[in-house]
Every structure is written in C-alpha cells, then in structure tokens.
Symmetry: C2
Subunit: 302 residues, 2 copies
C-alpha cells in the first residue's frame, strides 16, 4: 500500500522560481500527510500557454537546472518520489515538454513527451523514447505526460514493462461535454487503467492562462479503473453545477492557507494497493495480458 | 446519419429456433422504427452458459444454418444491416463463438471471437482472423465480440481499417463495482470510441442463466465516446437504485407486448453521424491517428 498524492495548482506563466517555490510548499504538505508519491502538473515550473518556442525556451531549464535539482533534493530529504513536469532546454532547438521522476538519493529520470498536443508542436520538440518504468522504494513507476495517455499503445507499453503505477503530469483544457458526463480524459484514464490493470495518478492544473481554461480534473484510479480520489471538476457528472472556487473543492482538499487564497490549489490523496497491479488476472481463466493475441496484432500492417 | 438499434433480449439456453424467432420479432420492430442497423447479443441464437463444448456444439450451426440464413433473409427483405452472435459449428472440434454481419443481398460475413473470456476457452475454439470491416450501404462496419472490445489493439485495428461503426454483440456478466459508477465495460467502450473516433454499438443481453446474472447494459456511443442511448443498467451511475423490472427500462424502451412480459427485451436506438468517424481531427493540429507514433510503438519488443 502506498499513499499517492496529486498536488494540483496554478503555475504562473514563465515564473519558474515562484512556481517551484509553490510546488515545494505543496510537496511538503502532501509529505506531511504521509504521501510517498507526489505528482505535479505538466509544465509545473513554467506554465503552458506560450506564444511560441522562443517564449517556451526562455522558461526552460536543463535537467540539471533549479527546478529538477530542488525537486530532487526534496525527494531525498522527505524520502518520497516526486514526478513533475517542466520545460526542458534543448540545445538543438525548441525545448522538450518533459517530466522528471525524482526518487530519494537517485539520479533524476527524465521523460520527454512523445505525443505533442495541438499547438505544442509549434513550441516543443517531441521526445523519441519509450515511457520509462522506474524501480523505486514504493514500486515500479511509469511516467508519461497528458496526451500520451490517450494512446493506448503507450499505456500498454508502460504496463508491459511492469509499471505498478503510472504517474502522469497533465494540463487538460476544458472542452465541451454533455451535461452529467465526467471529462473524457477521466473516462479514458479509468479505461486504460482497467484494461492494463495498472493504477494511474494524473495531476492536472487549474486556472486560466491567456484564454485557456484548465479543467482542474486530477484523478487517481486503481488497477480496476475506479477512482480512489478525484477533484470535483473530475467528478462533476455527479455535480452538474461546478463550484466557483476551485480551492474549496477536492475530496481531500488541503486546509486553506494564505497562499491557497492567492493561488487555489487542491491536493487529492489516496491509498493505493500497488501490489494489485502485479495480478493481471480478472477471472478464473482470464488475464488481461496473457489473453492478448500478440500474434494476430502483429499480422496487421498499416 | 444512420439510425442504429441494439435489440437486447434474453436468449433461452439451447433453444435455437425459439431464440431466432424472438430475435426476428425484435429486428422487425426496430426496422419499423427506422433502424438501418440492428445489433443483437453475443450467442443470440444459442444462449451462453454451456457446461461444456459438447453442449455448446449441440446448440451450434454452420454459417449456412437456420440462424444466419433467416437473419440474412430479413436483412435483404428489410433493407437493413444485422449483426448477431451465434454458436458456429466447427467440424474440427469445439465450436466458435461467432458473429454474422448480414447486409442486404450480400453474402454473410462471419467473424470468430479471438479473445475468449474466462471459461469460454473450455467450450469454444478461438478465431484467428482480424476483425472484419465491411463496406455496407450504411457505412463501414467493423465487427467484434464482447471481451475483444477490452483489447485496445483490436479496436485500433478495426479503426485503422476504416470502420465508421463497430457493432459488438456482447454478454456482459454483472460484476461488483463502486456505488454510483457505470459498468466498467461501458466506460471502456466510451474510451475506446473516443481514442479512435469510431462509433460503437454494444448489444448486451439480460436475464439469468445457470447462476450467471447478465448486465443488460447495452450502449451506443458516438465517435467522441459520449453515450447516445443506453439502458438504465448501463447508465445506473445516475440511478443508484436499479429498476427491478428490466423490461420497463431503457431510454427508448419498446412498447410492451405480450412477449415482452414473458421475455423482457429492451431496444435502444440512436441516430449516429457515421461521417464523423472519418474525421480523426480533435483540435487545430491534433488528429488521433496522425498523432500516433507507430515508429516508437514498433521499437518496443515484448
């Protein structure tokens, strides 16, 4: 069993030092509540809505920069795993939309988003590596970012590599949906988890950025695909009228502090049985991995 | 636009002639309401809960048998497409768990379930062919059966072959789930549809069979993954107290008839814009197929 937290907040565009300060407050708070894994949003250090790659590059840092270094120090000091998104400097051109996995006393593991969403391709360079699955004191943790989750091939690859938990920094924009339905991104996370029997923690962000409204729909699901914790924005099929104060929501919202009032943040936290992800059996004779027909899949040529 | 129906009913174990009679009543009723595609449950002609392969074989027929022939005649007479599950005789051993696609004045297309669920492997022989995608007067229709839907590779292959609509006969057993949640199978159908931008019509069955309680959770979703029509049993996240009389439920329940009282049946019916499935674009620069990184997926070896 492991206590896993998503520390959803509202990064300020381009304000790297301030964003990392804020993220560290939230990480400490989650750790003080017992969290052994803390997930932050995509591009947590930099914000998202850049006008172009030059602006993204100006808010980027190498993996040896302040954001990753400070998260890494916190991971070691607190004895926890941190997964956080940041804009990563690319000496060869447009930056990468990356995530760092920081385990105590271990080198940072960097993943670069392979599936760039919409206008990201105008600002970022796509990654060309498979999602990493890292052995940590908590269990085997896979890392991917936002739109990556919507490619079932990608989640399957992480699960086949043995991930117990996929930690996914995300920035989900609000998109129209029928009344009474959960965000589609949450539905897809539930389905992907259950089809692979892998837990998933997706940490979203809130706020508005240059006209982009963010969903604030963080969710933690178990290996059966059922939500263990989710924000009101992720659950709002149950509540057709979303709350107007994001900081007031969340199944396990942090106690309000001075900075909460300035910067609404919502922490969701859940106890996950990561051992359950190692059992792929779902019925007496059925096993979601053993039942795959890889021989047939390979026969299909695009 | 096409009106698509799922004619959910309760086949009687082993009573092939009676089950096909009943299915033809429901097909005629759906056609009279304008349906151009009618989907029936998995193993609609035979029932499901066989004790062994000999019993399944006794309720099986070749593709030239009465069930497929009668459905084929109805498709031609009514000018509609029918997709229906049946137990298919296998001269070489245990029967196949098959589905027939019957289009007007066309040869039946037979698909044999490739992913056998749980004890089905004790009764049936798995198919070894990819899911067919058939050009029909309504559009391109893909066929797969029940547990096949839970393998994202399989839905992806049907979508990459150009399916506008996947018709899936299913038999979903009731499994435990948290209060307020839709059946996991419905969540997975929604997610698969949206990740591939393909509509899906899954026709379930009702009733109890030798201790197996069936969900009766038929659902029709559009290419965005939103339910266009679903039974109360599929939607019951909205209604924590499921109705006790299945025949009384369904968003578009058929008018009660004498045989409804004997054999509760629920038809769900929805107008689907099948043209929408040919647009894989979901944002200015994003396209669920063009954004795939097939080069990277192929790099992964199991």
């Amino acid at each position: 069993m492991a206590l896993v937290a998503c520390s959803q907040f509202t990064p300020v565009l381009g304000a790297v030092s301030e964003n990392v300060d804020r993220s560290l407050e939230l990480i400490r708070e989650a750790a003080s509540r017992g969290a052994k894994v803390v997930v932050l949003p995509e591009l947590a250090s930099s914000g998202y809505a850049f006008a172009n790659s030059a602006e993204a590059a100006a808010a980027s840092e190498p993996a040896t920069g302040s954001a990753v270094s400070r998260w890494s120090e916190a991971a070691s000091e607190l004895g926890i795993v941190i997964v956080a998104g940041f804009a990563e400097t690319n000496p060869a051109g447009a930056p990468f939309n990356s995530a760092a996995l920081l385990a105590p006393d271990a080198e940072p593991v960097i993943y670069r988003k392979a599936h760039l969403w919409d206008r990201e391709r105008l600002m970022f360079t796509p990654g060309n590596d498979l999602p990493p699955v890292v052995e940590t004191p908590v269990g085997r943790i896979g890392v991917m970012i936002c739109y990556d989750l919507e490619f079932p091939e990608w989640v399957r690859i992480a699960a086949l590599q043995g991930a117990d938990l996929i930690c996914a920094p995300v920035n989900w924009p609000v998109v129209q949906r029928p009344a009474g339905e959960r965000p589609g991104e949450v539905v897809r996370v539930q389905a992907e988890a259950s089809m692979n029997r892998v837990a998933i923690a997706a940490c979203d962000r809130g706020g508005n950025e240059r006209g982009v409204e963010w969903s604030g729909a963080s969710v933690i699901v178990d290996a059966d695909g059922w939500p263990l914790a989710l924000t009101d924005q992720a659950a709002d099929r149950l509540r057709p009228e979303p709350p107007t104060v994001p900081g007031a929501s969340g199944e396990a919202a942090a106690a309000g502090t001075a900075s909460d009032r300035l910067d609404p943040a919502t922490t969701i936290i859940a106890e996950i049985d990561l051992q359950a992800s190692r059992t792929k059996r779902i019925a007496e004779y059925s096993d979601v991995m053993a039942d795959r027909r890889a021989d047939l899949y390979e026969r299909f040529t695009e």
